[in-house]
Amino acid sequence: MPSFELRVFDYDRLLEDAFLRQAEKIGIDWVNFGSESCYLQLPPRPLMEEIFSRLDGFKKKFSIPILYESHFDKVTELFGPVCELADTISVNDFGALTYLETHFKNQISSVSIGNILFFSYAECPWHDHIIRDESERVQGNLLTGNFDNEWMDDFMARYPFRFEMEMPFLKKLRGSASSLKEKGYAISFLPDIVPVSFARACHSSRYWGLPVDKCLRNCRQMVTLSPTHRWDFFEADVTEIRPVIKGQMPDYLVWGNSIFLKNREDDAGLMDEHIDKVILDMRFYKDLNQVAERIERLSDSQVTA
């Protein structure tokens, strides 16, 4: 049976004993905090240490965002305490991974490949349109994860860590998940959202006209985008999307600089034996009662299967 990880973005919740005790009671094994995409979302060190101290009884994962050069030293200062306090650290660029290997390989044995490092063409909202006329062999290639090939196997052998792979739960990626499992990766599926794109720019801040350096965590407010006009590169202008196409295009969910799709797939296969962990994103649940219901449904689906 896979374990359950709860991804929490609101740090205040992690300071509430009642929240943590309920999480434990409903079957949450792991708690994940930090950020994959923005260093400003990381908790200051005292808060980070306070949160870790409250997570007894849980396995702990801390997520490090993609690190631009200006942020690199600031964030890598946290690596030492994180490696001591966390069970695993999630990274989102190869520079951070290599830095961990060079400086902290004796302090942490488990590293998670985050959503910015792992990707697949299967995450493209209209990948069916793009590949529909290609051969089955080409389609099969494109609908794998970017780490799922022998060349990346050889490359990743340089690192001494036990790796976890964070992947969106898409039926088309189940084959890749199984393949990566055989190669030694622990597989974690995210059933709530599909990562699509990430930016240096905070789209939310720009929309609200708020300065990023005095961030008020405006990224906590989810914004839904419904596509209406496409960019015409040659005309350097936008043209309205035809209704027949618009009806097939999904809405995006944006938090700050991160763009996702709501995952519409059913849960069949989510609890397969080669899945090590299910990561539940707290942004999609009003409270832990809803999380508990989800865990119960998933557990029942496994029993039924």
Binding site: F94, F119, E134, N146, N149, V212, V223, T228, R230
Partner: protein, 324 residues
């Protein structure tokens, strides 16, 4: 103040002629995957489809590849061969090897590669051509460039969104040559952005520049809003600073451009701007000279980029939203 190499796109002999006339220092190109196998339709081994909206983005055949590279070399210009596919199944090793061999045989000077596994493979296979780590690899920090150097890479293309200050840090601390996109590009991390262009359905265009209805807590708050548009398109005015920073190569986007002559004018602008800067002219003086003498700048661009505030390194609504 160092002169920066300008790297321009090409997909044909004609476009190569325009770009060489525009005094590009390096050109980059790819080979149509149909030249390797009839199995491939739009799938390629590089960062562009074979065709976009009916416009070919690649050199058509191996014979043409030889002709085009011979021509480009005859003009004293170097050739970057694009093999920058995001990732590739080992199942395609034979075809990929043929693709690489085609470029090497034709005389390419550099290989552009955007996958760490593939970079390592090419070196182990014995290819000694200098490798450029492409923008799809998303190299946001110097530490990653050290990894790339260890793998035998010689140059890195920095991702969208790096600041002038960071470019200077890269130049100071990185063992690699530094290249960046100077003109056009996307607004997100292009190597990890799955808002992909569709080669066949026009309605599905680059998501970062599209317009959206904005819905917050089930209420429509705005419409036709360019919420995701963080694309910065132009670095002309910052060329003197980039030259001071010592950046090695500036790249222009456009293998899919429907007008190769117009695209080559962008190359020419970057060359002329540098010439004027090295002559000691200030940016306002250079822009004034452009308005008076470079008619295509005033008739097509008017200047469009300045009006739309898509400066890559100046404070604009877009660059002020960068997480720095």
């Amino acid at each position: 103040m160092n002169r920066i190499n300008i790297m321009a796109p090409t997909r044909s002999l004609e476009m190569s002629r325009y770009q060489c006339d525009a005094r590009a220092n390096e050109l980059y190109l790819g080979l149509d995957s149909g030249a390797i196998s009839e199995e491939f339709l739009n799938f390629t081994f590089n960062g562009r489809y074979n065709k976009m909206d009916g416009v070919s983005c690649q050199i058509d055949s191996v014979d043409d590849l030889h002709k085009v590279i011979r021509y480009i070399h005859g003009r004293g210009v170097k050739v970057n061969y694009t093999a920058n596919i995001h990732y590739l199944s080992h199942d395609f090793q034979k075809e990929f090897d043929e693709y690489i061999e085609a470029g090497v045989d034709a005389g390419a000077d550099y290989l552009i590669v955007s996958n760490l596994g593939i970079i390592q493979y090419l070196r182990k296979r014995g290819y000694t051509l200098p490798i450029v780590a492409g923008v799809f690899l998303v190299t946001p920090n110097v530490e990653q460039t050290k990894l790339l150097a260890d793998l035998g890479v010689e140059r890195v293309v920095l991702p969208q969104g790096v600041t002038l200050k960071e470019i200077a840090m890269f130049k100071e601390k990185s063992p690699l040559e530094i290249e960046m996109f100077g003109h056009f590009g996307g607004g997100n991390n292009c190597g990890r952005c799955m808002l992909l262009h569709s080669p066949t359905i026009n309605d599905i265009g680059p998501g970062c520049r599209a317009a959206y209805d904005i819905i917050i807590e089930d209420e429509k708050e705005d419409e036709k809003n360019y919420f995701l548009d963080a694309a910065a398109d132009c670095s002309l005015c910052t060329l003197p600073e980039l030259m001071e920073a010592g950046i090695d190569v500036i790249k222009i986007v456009g293998r899919e451009s429907n007008n190769s002559f117009v695209n080559s004018k962008i190359t020419e602008f970057y060359k002329i701007f540098q010439d004027y800067a090295l002559d000691g002219m200030t940016v306002p003086q250079i822009k004034k000279r452009f308005m008076n003498e470079e008619l295509i700048w005033s008739s097509i661009w008017r200047p469009r980029f300045c009006e739309k505030k898509r400066c890559r390194f100046r404070p604009t609504n877009i660059t002020k939203s960068y997480i720095v």
